[in-house]
Amino acid sequence: MKITLKIYRYNTEDGKPPHYDTFVVPDAEENDLVLDLLECVRGYQDGTLSFRRSCAHGICGSDAMRINGRNYLACKVLVKDLGTDQITIEPILGLPVLKDLIVDMNPFYEHYRSVLPFFMCPDDPVADGKERIQTPEERERYDDTTKCILCACCTTSCPSFWADGRYVGPAAIVNAHRFIFDNRDCGAEDRLNILNEQMGVWRCRTAFNCTEACPRDINITKAIADVKKAITTGKIE
């Protein structure tokens, strides 16, 4: 089947304003990934096309992009999933475009770092000197949010983040949730106080775009609601 790709192009070095280039992939198959089509264009039609990719199996999270108006990982969406032979590919929204489909992820990582996404419990001695025991039920409490691969599909699909890039965004809240609800960790209070700021969880308007966009099927809006509840009730349950 013939697929027409309309791809956002921008290069700070050539002085041209952002525009779209159209490419035709003549012999695509319905089970081809969108990433395969991009590789085909880059390999055979225009070697200057720039996009990030690494594992191509939905694990590294480097090829998040806006495909037909919705955020996906290009390595997880098949041509047949889109139901059309006209595919528009753009960089994810809300982050500065560096070149073509590559965005500057630094603002995203700064928000991620701001919620202290690491284990904190310096004063808690481990009883046997080996490990911190946790029951399967206690582990289950935050299992969903451990699945995040930091692809930024959620944060860059959030209208609150588009409106104000200072909002920490769903991905940072998901990663805070992962530690807040881990009963071995001692930093929940610090994280909740950070997320209680004006640019924290209260900027979430429950649009559900993040949940729709997540390639790992994390219930992000629910995780954000868990954090809001912990802040308002003062209880982590």
Partner: protein, 129 residues
């Protein structure tokens, strides 16, 4: 980072409430109150009485009871506050500097207070017997 975690689900944490927390809670609590207030109002005015039978005589009859006047003031106050807080949230998407944001928040709060006070006084005290 001060307390050693207890094993089990429920843990207590101290999170200092701020303006945003209170505003968010206000939106939820006022919405819960608005559900019975607005739905009963709609049911009464549009279904039981009917919009074509609402005239000055009906308003006079309704406001002859203090309870209905208090009901209407509550309806005005809660719906208007809920809407003004929503408007503040929308404007926050477009105003990125802290100072103008505060000014807008205060203007909306004062606007709500003044209009609600005028409406409340008119409904409670302005009815001629």
């Amino acid at each position: 980072m001060t307390t050693v975690p207890e094993h089990g689900y429920t843990r207590q944490v101290k999170v200092k409430p701020n303006y945003e927390t209170i505003a968010w809670q206000w939106m939820r609590y006022s919405a819960v109150l608005l559900i019975p207030l607005v739905w009963f109002h709609v049911l009464l005015q549009d279904v039981i009485v009917g919009v074509h039978r609402i005239d000055l005589d009906y308003v006079q009859l309704r406001w002859a009871t203090l309870g209905w006047r208090v009901y209407d003031v509550l309806l005005l106050g809660f719906t208007f506050a809920h809407g003004m807080n929503g408007l503040r949230q929308v404007l926050n998407d477009y105003i990125h500097n802290e100072k103008p944001r505060r000014v807008v928040a205060w203007v909306l709060l004062l606007g709500w207070a003044v209009i609600t006070a005028i409406g409340g006084i008119a409904i409670i005290a302005g009815v001629r017997k």
